[in-house]
Symmetry: C2
Subunit: 733 residues, 2 copies
């Protein structure tokens, strides 16, 4: 459920800033109450109450600080370039904010910025335009190459390159020019799973473009409906229409992906002769540094056998299988090779083959794989290299499963150096050109935001900025945020929770309590960022007199392979047991009212919410399930089959996790909410559940956001959370 | 909103049986409480509590009484034919119930019945099969001709005739054989408006077939989605699909209708050269008694100019325009010509040209039109002729606007003879072959069911059956049903209401009160049938302590042209004012709690419910709007343009009635409920309203019935009413 994960990660990044270190913090006498739009993203009132920020970046090895008006040297304070300076070199206003500036070349006074579909490179010393490209209005995916200044872009299903010479070359040429989306070029494939986020890959010299081609003509389209609520009168455009949305459901026919390589000089195209079956996954593409070959992580449809394959770009032929990885549950390649800048024969890769995601050094000559990091913790992000000290910079949760801190390590492994204090969650790490220095931004439970410039060798450095607590500064009544751990249903594994208590908390009272849940792979909700990563809505609920409780059970991320794979082929079963452990803990607390326990979650969390309501109908009185999976038969091939195999090979797993078959268990109040146009958990999930409730004679509630996708943003998210709150106020208060 | 009307009329027919005459009736000491499935149609428990019935019909001039096992002479009690008798003449069981028997020929011992797609005519004296036709499994519309025993039927968009000789002739031959529904033959057209309910018309001798052909290729299809919740695994049929549902929206392109005449002997086809524009309406087709010409009521798209046109069947040419009718608002032909059995040059027709729907005698020779009935009341149904006394039998509300009684009158007009007492509502009138005798079934507020066999000349006769009150007989606690009148918002017009009070009503208490509303044309809710036509749900609500109140405002049916047309070009405006008058009356009653007034309605009543919630946000606290129109822009051409003209010609009317534009007024609790596949008020109405609420920052609630159409039936209706009740219990109690 990639989309959800993206949302959740970005929210986490936003919600990062002060309170107590790992424990309780009470704020009582303050009186100011939050409005929902001050707590949920989008509008001005929200941003006014966010922790203050300083915007940093790099120009080669010069650290920069940017305001809307100008860019300054972070260390000297000297102005480097202002918006005004640039604009006066043009006949029209081309820049509105310095935040759009970037400095792509370490040693050249060149600024790059975009304005609509226009991309400008400007020498601000010589006051000379180096390039000024305007792409067609409909261009979507854009991949600009710094070396050649060529841009790959897509329009509909077609792929084009705007060349150095100003020509437009169409790469897609096999009948997809009709604008249909049956065959799409240059876009992300495999539904953004396996770490895939784009469909074009420039060669190191910027002259050749590798790209995905996806044939999805054999995959049915889910009938998404555009209700055109703003359609004009009399032009025939009033009536609703469907639009195409290919959706391969688990166990059904999947799309076929090919990889092409286009030479922009000769305009010749070569197709890689990909190994495996037509519906295998071809992921994490990287070019060899010499530009003569391409590495692809190929995964069979069953997702339990991965091969790293090298292809000859000149012929498309397989050169060799560099390495393989198998697992009886699944293997999930998520990262391409990253070659050492100082040794073209060696690359860093990531794997959880020892049970935890770690860094490995792959020798491409010998195919020897050497583990760089190890331990019962995971590498969360490969950040880059210090090319001087030849170290790797990465983020991991070595310090605590809830933390995410920066470290550096030698390529040969060994001692890991923390960069800065091992505190909280680093949400942004910007490396200088040579990687010797990093600007790291983190938050911790009591730190709204801290930005530091650090040596990646020593880990020492200086504080750039520390934000004050904007809530306390503005006199708001702030709830209490706590975190702790309990044992999972297996009796052994530590699970971490956070808990939010009303500001005027009185432990002699009984509070209604809402469990907020996600519970699926590739996400977790409890981390050591500001307020223990508590979401604004939890503060809103605390203000209304609710306790909220959030537990990361087995199946969630960053706890290692076995922790995640405990749910294999039976999604929802172990996860519910762990959440129930959370409820047992809650009901052991004197101030939790066991007759007023609710549950809420979105996406996988919507599946969990519905599941919990149906599994423990006497425990959970009220639930709000957003964008839920109801039946894994309706979920897509890539994510679904990884965790559930196919309906054909795992009928009992699909049956036992099919919530539709348990609609008759519904006892409490359950509201299902979806984006009417959700392309991730398609409306068929909730619609079929409603059908099942009607047939079983039970009553669920329902709402949908016409035009809405898998998640809501901005004012729509505010409306949504008002709605969710109202439901608990109606039935749990 | 034809579909609703059909539902409502059939419900009225079902809900016909005992209480007090025009006033209060209190049932107190009884204790037995109704379950919802005992009050709402479909299941066994409902039928057990319906008034007992006796099933009657005619064999020529012999009155019959039918039980599941056999048919008897109603007057002598002698058995005429049993199921067993018929079955033993066949090698297999062909009949399961005598209710499927009919006796098509007055003087012949012939029984006709169907079994699946098989239609059998059997001489039960000679024990001989006269005809035994089996149509294809997919045959839908079936039109059997008694004279030639030929059957017209449709499969998809195609029209066929199964001939006397056993041949199958395909009449549709212009490319519609591809199974598309762009061009459909032999089906009802113009969305069942203008009294149209079929698409085939046999000539008097049964040798020629007139039929509709509708080209709707220019009309976009509303994207209805089949969620296939029972789709199998692995066969690719799991994913939802759209299906075609052409829907011409007001002011947009409409379909084109033609009329063909097919000669089954020569197999030649003639198209009538229809007058008017291509998108005109061609309604109420009738054959001339000599089979040489056809009469069609043609109406322009603006619906304010009607012409009765005679066409020559041999050439398709127009012979003449027999008469015309115009009105500055609209003219609405609803009934074909009916020729006098004893004079082929004269026909009875209906018109509200004098302001009320009455019978007219049309002289086809002179085109003179002579009014047969007149007065400030309406003819509700032309029933047939007494060919001996040369009288017309019809239903009208002459006795009281809420009643519907049988009368007979001479063709020359004059004195009208009531057939039986002028009591209640006649819901079924079966005429003998010669029309001298009628079996009339009626209910009245205190009469659950009364069946009488009457002379159509004298109006006298005998009681066949009178049902006891099944509710009282079974010891149920029965609420009080009342009816009365108030003045409309115009200060002059009488409007009738009914009101249901809890069985243990105590006028010193304050009761929450729910207004149930329809309010649109071609329907009314208050009539003098059993319990003042109260619906089962009202009794359920009474049992839960609510008063329900139902008022037929201006715009509703059977009160004459001006009463209905008061709402022209501004649907919803006057109707709301009248409903508000009802609320003023309610709040004048000491026992109505003015702070707990709710509203509920379906279809046009859903439009009214939403409208009332938005127009009087401080009056109505809770509303449940089912299958509502939200924006007449999204409603269809035929019904919509009749009352609203087009969006192009009446922009202000469309704007002021567009509830989406007032979504910000929402204050109380409003739940919208639709059939997810509603082909009448398409989902775009509610979806666009939800969108508007989200944009305006207001909260409405929503529910839908996947697979549901415009109305719910059976167990689905029970689920629906449980849902509606729960909403009032949640928020109005």
């Amino acid at each position: 459920m990639k989309t959800n994960r993206v949302k959740w990660l970005s929210m986490k990044a936003l919600l990062s800033v002060i309170f107590c270190v790992m424990c309780v913090m009470s704020a009582s006498a303050q009186q100011k109450q939050f409005r929902l739009d001050e707590l949920i993203g989008g509008g001005d009132s929200y941003w006014k109450l966010r922790p203050e920020n300083v915007y940093t970046s790099w120009w080669g090895n010069i650290a920069l600080k940017t305001t809307p008006e100008a860019v300054y040297d972070l260390n000297t304070g000297k102005e480097i370039l202002s918006v005004e300076q640039v604009n006066k070199c043009f006949s029209e206003k081309v820049v509105f904010s310095a935040h759009s500036f970037s400095f792509p070349f370490p040693d050249e006074p060149v600024v790059m910025f975009t304005k609509g579909q226009r991309r400008i490179m400007f020498d601000f010393h010589a006051k000379r335009i180096l390039s000024d490209i305007t792409l067609p209005q409909e261009a979507v995916v854009r991949d600009f190459n710094l070396k050649t200044r060529q841009t790959a872009y897509t329009v509909g299903g077609n792929l084009y390159v705007y060349t150095e010479k100003g020509d437009t070359l169409q790469i897609s040429k096999d009948g997809s020019t009709d604008g249909s989306d049956n065959i799409v070029y240059g876009q992300s494939v495999h539904r953004d799973e396996f770490g895939i986020s784009g469909g074009t890959f420039w060669s190191p010299d910027g002259k050749m473009l590798a790209y995905y081609r996806m044939d999805q003509s054999m995959v049915p389209s889910y009938p998404q409906v555009d209700i055109k609520s703003k359609g004009a009168v009399g032009d025939g455009s009033r009536i609703a229409e469907t639009y195409s949305c290919h959706y391969p459901m688990a166990g059904e026919k999947s799309h076929y992906v090919k990889v092409g390589v286009f030479d922009t000089e000769t305009q010749k195209n070569v197709w890689l002769h990909l190994v495996g079956e037509k519906d295998d996954y071809h992921t994490n593409i990287s070019w060899a540094p010499d530009g003569k070959s391409i590495y692809v992580f190929e995964l069979n449809r069953d997702q339990n056998h991965m091969r790293l394959v090298q292809y000859d770009v000149a012929t498309g032929n397989v050169m060799r299988t560099v390495l393989e990885e198998k697992h009886d549950k699944y293997v999930e390649p998520m990262h391409p090779l990253t070659f050492l800048p100082w040794d073209e024969e060696k690359a860093v890769m990531q794997s959880q083959r020892d049970g935890y995601n770690h860094l490995y050094l792959l020798d491409l000559k010998t195919t020897a794989l050497k583990q760089i990091t190890s331990g019962k913790w995971v590498v969360q992000e490969f950040v880059g290299f210090n090319t001087i000290a030849r170290r790797i910079i990465y983020r991991s949760n070595e310090a605590d499963p809830r933390k995410s801190c920066l470290y550096s390590v030698k390529v040969s492994g060994g001692k890991r150096t923390p960069l800065g204090a091992e505190e909280g969650v680093c949400y942004q790490a910007q490396l200088s050109k040579n990687g010797a220095s990093v600007i790291s931004a983190y938050t911790a439970p009591d730190v709204p935001r801290s930005i530091n410039q650090l040596s990646t060798t020593t880990g020492k450095g200086m504080n750039v900025f520390t934000a004050k607590d904007p809530w306390k500064e503005n006199g708001y009544s702030v709830p209490t945020f706590k975190s702790g751990s309990i044992k999972a249903a297996d009796g052994m594994t530590d699970l971490y929770y956070r808990m939010v208590l009303p500001a005027d908390f009185d432990e002699t009272k009984k509070y209604p309590t809402v469990v907020y849940v996600y519970g699926g792979p590739h996400a977790h909700l409890v981390d050591a960022s500001w307020h223990w990563s508590s979401r604004g809505w939890e503060t809103y609920m605390a203000q209304k007199g609710y306790i909220t409780f959030i537990l990361d059970g087995r199946g969630s991320e960053w706890r290692g392979r076995d922790f995640e794979q405990a749910t294999f082929r039976k999604l929802g079963t172990e996860e519910c047991k762990d959440q129930y452990k959370g409820v047992e803990y809650l009901t052991s607390l004197p101030y939790v009212d066991k007759d007023r326990i609710g549950v809420h979650g979105w996406s996988f969390g919507g599946f969990m919410t519905t599941n919990l309501m149906l599994t423990y109908p006497d425990v959970f009185k009220v639930g709000v399930a957003g964008g839920p999976v109801i039946d894994w038969n309706y979920y897509e091939v890539m994510y679904g089959e990884r965790y559930m195999d196919t309906p054909q090979s795992n009928p009992e797993g699909y049956k036992s996790s099919n919530l539709r078959l348990r609609a008759g268990n519904l006892k409490g109040r359950l509201q299902l909410i979806i984006g009417y146009n959700d392309p991730v958990c398609v409306p068929q999930h909730t619609l079929s559940f409603i059908r099942a409730c009607i047939d079983a004679g039970t009553q669920c509630d329902y709402f949908l956001y016409p035009g809405g996708q898998h998640n809501m943003y901005g004012t729509e998210a505010i409306h949504l959370h008002e709605r969710i709150t109202r439901y608990f106020e109606d039935f749990l208060k």
